[in-house]
């Protein structure tokens, strides 16, 4: 038995080395990163919150699921603004950002986060199941092997954010809009 454990532990160490070179394939989170840049393009913040020419702060709240893809976008230009990417751990720090991607590591405190960021003109985005329905701004949904998004128009209006008609047209579901 003891020998078996030793072999198993050696195996674990060997696997650790293997992971060092095995890099994850491109996929879902690259697409989600691309979505985040597009949301920066098609959402309008109040002037006091984001003066023209000021850098746009894009934050990840919780564990970074993008594997460096999003961090690689730091310093890019979007609609004449510089995008600054950072990872934050608290709701207070997240409230200073313009776009907050809520990592699914934060699911159990989702209500707390959404309440903390409400009325602060923060565009909240997440791939947590039912995020837009729960009161988040935009929920990313993987469906039929495509990444789609749901927009909560009522949340956007409450937070004084304006989504372009192009964004609203391409959303899978638009919550809080009357009529067809």
């Amino acid at each position: 038995m003891r020998r078996l454990y030793r072999i198993a532990i050696l195996g674990v160490l060997g696997l650790g080395g293997f992971f060092a070179w095995a890099s994850p394939p491109p996929g879902e989170y690259q697409i989600k990163a691309a979505y985040l840049l597009n949301f920066a393009r098609y959402v309008e913040w109040p002037g006091v919150r984001l003066p023209s020419g000021a850098p746009l702060r894009l934050c990840i709240l919780g564990r970074d699921p993008f594997g460096g893809v999003l961090a690689g976008l730091d310093g890019r230009q979007v609609s004449g603004r510089e995008v600054r990417v950072r990872q934050v751990d608290s709701v207070e720090l997240a409230a200073e950002c313009h776009i907050v991607f809520v990592s699914d590591s934060e699911e159990r405190r989702l209500g707390l986060i959404l309440r903390g960021l409400a009325l602060r003109s923060v565009l909240t985005v997440s791939d947590i199941d039912g995020f837009a329905e729960a009161g988040g701004s935009i929920g990313l949904v993987t469906e039929d092997e495509r990444v789609r998004f749901d927009i909560n128009q009522a949340s956007l209006q409450r937070d004084s954010l304006r989504a372009s008609s192009r964004l609203l047209r391409l959303g899978r579901n638009v919550i809080g809009m009357k009529g067809p």
Partner: protein, 655 residues
């Protein structure tokens, strides 16, 4: 690290919406921040496993031992000490416990869920008592169904196996304008039979239906609510093997009937800048075992939780709970009698947990405790301390100590059970003695106790993960039997002298055991179209020896209740154009109890997404082995049920 910038980020919204995602297999990482051994099965994992029941979906989780006992009958245990009613495992559906207080376990044969609408299954190995309450000793399985707001379409799922038995399920999503969404569903199924050792079809039937609804509120508000209800009926038949005494004995078919209904409501709202939730559920269960007895269990449960707004380095969560259980059992035969027939239990519980950040982003300490006060046993404090070190964004190392309790079941405290006839050596005045288990004289049942030490390592592999956990469990006050006196009473038998004396076995908190093990889990995205999921478990249980042969026999049952090691490897291939191939390999070590030999099984699944609304799957199970045994029922002396080669075809329409 990322030198070449991915070209994807320059795509427009229109292009993104149309883009196909290759290898969508987002392993939910939701609990990756938790200093505990946690595996989350996503809806995608469940679909790709070809599982048609919850136990089948759990087969690839490290530390979880799943063995089929018969048609729809399963032995599911976490970290050993299992069996048909693994009494140290808590199972919940959307926060409602399906753990039966009658026999301290889960009637898997009566538990049916609509797998298509399951969002995820969380498997927490090791004591989860400080958060989940009593009976979360060796593990917790949380089945979480999708919100009704996420299932607004219609679904029809139909499958048929090689014996011609069908499983059909329908679900209809309904938009409640301005309120939220509702779904109603119904499912009917007849499960495949097992084989006897000669390959003939057994009489182990399992058929029944399930129907229910779930309603969720929607909107921009941060308050959320949910209401759901379900009702079911299942009938199962299994063969009981009675030992031959004087030419009498053999196979007796035993029919079980189960009926139940439940209603669960939950409300989440903001309270004092934090987040609160209140959950209420009512649950009714009825079971009938042939002519031997029937019983009802009614449960009302109220649960309040409050997560306070983080202050400084502390993030505090606390809660209060109250549960009322009423049972009524009519069982007065010599085979099974339960006295008193009516029981009422009240359980009050409180828990508090503080997550303390010692060094931001690097060191975190979680202290917690749960206190259960049951009207039938003493106050059981269940504390835990967990320390987690996250040196990099991808690695985390954690260690924990926790204590958990398992409350005695009604069966253990009140039942007198005839285990069977034990033939006596030739020359004895009686051909057999009747072995009867009953509560020990003057025994006041206490909860079984576990102290657990764990050490875990987890590495986040972007789209995958690797996990290794070492555990040591120390069990005390385990409920077992010891040799009691001869008599009182006799049991009639059909051979001269037409009665057998009773050999009593007294139950009490008499045994102790230790188990040590290692669990490895890997989810590795190799290329965009190839993914590997592997698990390996190694464990050893040793029970304390005693001078009493009955207690020793119980110890040997504990030691032999799970294999020493088991492993699985699942290869997921995307063939393109909506075609998928899954190859699942499992190796199970031998199980001491019942003398179940080791086996290897190979399952194959071919999935084809024909178009946006129709999906087809062809599944072959146990392909290279005509017949194998997975478990021998330890609760009823059931006929060993062998599992044959199987196949089924399934179609799922969404519109």
């Amino acid at each position: 690290m990322c030198a070449a910038e991915p070209p994807l980020v320059d795509l427009t919204l229109e292009e993104l919406v149309r883009l196909d995602v290759s290898a969508v297999s987002r392993k939910a990482q939701k609990l990756s921040e938790t200093p505990a051994a946690v595996t989350v099965l996503s809806a995608e994992d469940i679909r790709r496993s070809g599982a048609r029941s919850v136990p089948e979906a759990l087969r690839e989780v490290p530390g979880v031992n799943v063995a089929q006992i018969g048609g729809g009958r399963w032995a599911v245990s976490v970290r050993g000490l299992g069996g048909r009613f693994a009494n140290k495992l808590l199972v919940q559906i959307d926060g409602r416990s399906v753990y039966s207080p009658l026999f301290s376990g889960v009637f898997w044969e009566a538990l049916d869920v609509m797998l298509e609408d399951v969002e995820r299954i969380e498997v927490i190995r090791g004591p989860g008592a400080s958060l989940w309450g009593a009976n979360a000793v060796n593990g917790v399985i949380n089945i979480v169904t999708r919100k009704a707001t996420a299932t607004r379409d219609s679904l029809v799922s139909a499958s048929m196996d090689d014996q011609g038995r069908a499983v059909t399920a329908v679900r209809q999503g309904i938009d409640l304008d301005g309120i939220g969404a509702l779904r109603v569903y119904a499912k009917g199924s007849e499960l495949e039979r097992s084989r006897s050792v000669d390959g003939k079809s057994e009489r182990d039937r399992n058929h029944g239906w399930l129907a229910g609804f779930r309603m969720d509120g929607a909107g921009s508000g941060v308050d959320a609510w949910m209401l759901q209800g379900a009702s079911y009926r299942r009938t199962t038949t299994e063969n009981i093997e009675t030992p031959a005494v004087g030419g009498y004995g053999g196979l007796v078919p035993l029919q079980f009937e189960f009926e139940g209904a439940s209603l669960t409501g939950r409300y989440n709202w903001g309270l004092a800048d934090g987040e609160a939730s209140l959950q209420v559920y009512l649950d009714h269960q009825w079971a009938n075992v042939a002519t031997y007895g029937k019983g009802t269990v009614n449960t009302a449960d109220l649960d309040f939780q409050h997560r306070l707004v983080p202050s400084g380095r502390h993030e505090v969560m606390w809660g209060l709970g109250s549960r009322y259980i009423q049972t009524e059992i009519q069982a007065t035969t010599e085979v099974l009698s339960i006295l008193p027939p009516r029981r009422e239990y009240r359980v009050m519980s409180a828990f508090v947990q503080d997550e303390i950040t010692l060094v931001p982003q690097t060191w975190r300490l979680t202290l917690g405790g749960r206190f259960d006060y049951a009207s039938t046993s003493r106050l059981e404090p269940q504390p835990t301390a967990r320390l987690m070190w996250t040196p990099t964004l991808a690695d985390s190392l954690w260690t924990s100590w926790s204590r958990a309790a398992r409350t005695p079941s009604i069966g253990e405290s009140d039942a007198t059970i005839l285990f069977g006839l034990q033939p006596t050596p030739p020359g004895s005045p009686f051909p057999a003695v009747a072995v009867v288990s009953k509560p020990g004289a003057g025994w006041s049942p206490r909860a079984e106790r576990l102290d657990a030490l764990e050490l875990g390592y987890r590495r986040n592999l972007g789209n995958g993960s690797f996990e290794a956990v070492l555990f040591h469990h120390d069990y005390r006050r385990l409920i077992s039997e010891t040799t009691g006196p001869i008599g009182p009473g006799v049991i009639p038998i059909p051979v001269a002298p037409y009665y057998a004396p009773v050999q009593s076995m007294y139950r009490g908190n008499l045994s102790a055991a230790r188990s040590t093990g290692l669990e490895l889990g890997l989810d590795l995205p190799v290329t965009a179209n190839l993914r590997l999921q592997a698990s390996y478990t190694l464990m050893d249980t040793a029970a304390r020896r005693s001078a009493d042969p009955v207690r020793n026999a119980y110890g040997r049952i504990l030691e032999g209740s799970a294999p020493h090691h088991w492993a699985s490897l699942h290869t997921l291939v995307n063939l393109g154009r909506g075609r998928e191939l899954d190859l699942m390999l499992r190796r199970m070590g031998a199980i001491g109890q019942g003398g179940v030999p080791a086996y290897t099984s190979v399952d194959l699944r071919y999935g084809w997404r024909v178009n946006r609304s129709f999906e087809l799957a062809l599944v072959g199970q146990n392909l290279f082995d005509p017949l194998h045994l997975e478990y021998v029922s330890n609760f009823f002396p059931g006929q060993p049920a062998y599992q044959p080669r199987r196949a089924y075809v399934q179609g799922v329409w969404r519109f």
